[in-house]
Symmetry: C2
Subunit: 382 residues, 2 copies
């Protein structure tokens, strides 16, 4: 079994491997960026789903973490995380009751719970649940700054929607109007820096207009929160966003690495890998034991990573349990039993396939397992 001290070449495969050295460098770079930019960092824990990694982020200066689901919040709270923001709408009364109970628990521990809203009915239900539990929560009004999913229209598209919803929040006992949720997910993977900057600029302008509309209406807007790994440097320099929610920076998946990056932005390294092994070979191809039950393919296929930097292979989807490798450098395919490292296309749903990370110290060529890191909120979709 996978135990501390095991050499990377001995790992059972497939395994979800964290290069701890690379992860810690990413952690430090983002913490330094946020401190330098004078913005709060509240990384999105929907990405890593791990209380241990959230605690590392908090120790490095993060003010708390975001989650997307009630059950994620519960799992991370159980793992010792006290400042949680559900950056998403919650509507089901049973879930709202659980959230309200959690808010009480966190408050008793000196922490807090926040949640996003985008509908008057959601505000009413949340208020009811919170009062029934004798709790209190911070509420962020979500505006749709380009994602086309949740959120009310921002003030530059509809001068009333966000103001009216914020007014309801402010008027609801048990709820504290904490500001605006303004996340433009689609902007994160716009490849060219200038096009990505332009997409972020649109979100920033909408957030600014909405904050000003709230203030004109006499409503407090202490915080605008949002941004992701692709755009955080733009929101961070905007003087509009007070809090950044980037999460993927900690692991850097293949899809983010495919972006063009401005030299002025902090550079992040791949820290998350799927260790795989050739289990069939011949006819110019090698078949590895990792398919899309071992890595998510919603953002495309994994990239084959040679830690020694010598070989290049193209990865083809071989189904649920197989991947097909072909040499991209004129050499032979990897041999039967050979270890192969994959950089997942998208870290979040890949992590959600595993119960634990294998934390490796000393690199992927000659490192050893340092510790196993639990993925506390694996499968927490409710």
């Amino acid at each position: 079994m996978t135990r501390p001290g095991l050499h990377v070449s001995e790992l059972d495969t497939p395994a979800l491997v964290l290069d701890l050295d690379a992860m810690e460098r990413n952690l430090a770079r983002m913490a330094a960026y946020a401190a330098g930019a004078g913005v709060r960092l509240r990384p999105h824990a929907k990405m890593h789903k791990s209380a241990e990694l959230a605690r590392l982020q908090l120790a490095a200066g993060a003010v708390g973490v975001c989650v997307q689901k009630t059950s994620e919040a519960e799992a991370l709270a159980a793992g010792g995380v006290d400042d949680l923001y559900v950056s998403n709408e919650v509507i089901a009364p049973a879930k709202l009751a659980r959230l309200a109970a959690l808010a009480r628990t966190l408050r008793a521990r000196g922490g807090r719970l926040a949640v996003a809203v985008d509908h008057a009915e959601g505000v009413a239900r949340l208020g009811e649940a919170v009062r029934a539990a004798g709790a209190e929560v911070d509420v962020l009004v979500e505006i749709d700054v380009g994602q086309g999913r949740c959120g009310v229209p921002p003030a530059d598209r509809d001068p009333l929607a966000a103001v009216e919803l914020a007014r309801r929040v402010a008027a609801t006992a048990g709820l504290r109007l904490a500001g605006l949720q303004a996340y433009h997910g689609k902007a994160q993977h716009v490849r060219a820096v200038e096009a990505r900057r332009a997409a972020a600029a649109g979100a920033i302008a909408s957030a600014r207009a909405t904050r000003e509309a709230l203030e004109r209406a006499g409503l407090p807007c202490p915080l605008v929160t949002g941004a992701g790994t692709g755009t955080f440097a733009f929101e961070g320099a905007s003087s509009v966003y007070g809090e950044l929610q980037a999460g993927s920076y900690l692991f850097m998946d293949r899809d983010y690495a495919d972006n063009e990056w401005a030299p002025s932005q902090p550079a992040f390294e791949h820290a998350l890998f799927v260790a795989a092994q050739v289990m069939s070979a011949g006819q110019g191809r090698a078949v590895v034991d990792a398919g899309h039950k071992s890595h998510a393919i919603d953002s495309g296929l994994p990239r084959v990573h040679d830690p020694a930097g010598r070989r290049r292979f193209a990865f083809e989807n071989g189904g649920d349990e197989h991947g097909i490798l072909r040499p991209a450098d004129g050499g032979p395919p990897p041999a039967l039993g050979e270890r192969v490292w994959l950089v997942p296309g998208h870290c979040d749903p890949t992590v959600n396939l595993y119960d634990r990370y294998v934390g490796v110290r000393g690199g992927l060529v000659d490192g050893r397992v340092e510790r196993i890191v639990a993925i506390d909120a694996r499968g927490a979709v409710t």
Copy 2:
């Protein structure tokens, strides 16, 4: 929490729901087909990953089940399944030692373990592990009948490869040559019946030629095993295949339902659903709380299913945790809090996201939870 007796309208969402009535009809239809066709049924349990469902299949006449991974075999054996076939290559010595130990355990329980091979090195390693454990396993020589993944070339493409490998198996102490593994995965989703029949015919011809080559070489070939839900009626009528490995028939995903089906084949119903709920609504769309952390999208997006048969909605990918619904029938989008049923694009990797099925009796409109069914091998990728 989700407990027996709960009305379907009260389910916490997202939930992976089994319509037990529909599943049992699918189970009976396939059992009747296999009995009528005079072929053995060994359903692929990589699809449902559940010992309880495997035992239902055995009780309905299946001779055993297939799995794809060593850890799947271990999980199902722990759940009381005694006849297991790893229809895939296993190369890592540590895994082979586990398989050999499992083979001993199953044999002591009156069952058996079988495994596929496609390489001389794999045969040698398997033989070594089996002898070290004092065990015995059945071995199927995998031939590549069109999938282009694992397997040696069949005899109509290479007259020697399969015969040589089979000879090695027969000559290896502890291994019993049990026949041929011949699965054409790509044929399963060829949409038109006649094109699918042609693809299966190619696989059947290759399997026949290889069986004859083995017999000419004086090697036993007691069984050809393979086929999936898309083509089983062709292999079943071939007089070449003695065993069918179809798995998805039990649940029927959206991708299989998109096939054209011959009237002569047994018809299967959707039995697997993701229950979701609208958590944001407005501007002509509804956003549900299920994204691709709640259903796999490798074979495309889920279809929205209205159990009452009244409404039609188009599903758009909204990311990891969201789905976007738009009316496809001119009506309004579903309202905040409304329940929505999704038929997953691909059942196997969708099941792998959940720890349990919610088994519902009496349909999705007015049924109730009958029991929770464990997904024992969830995440069993090693």
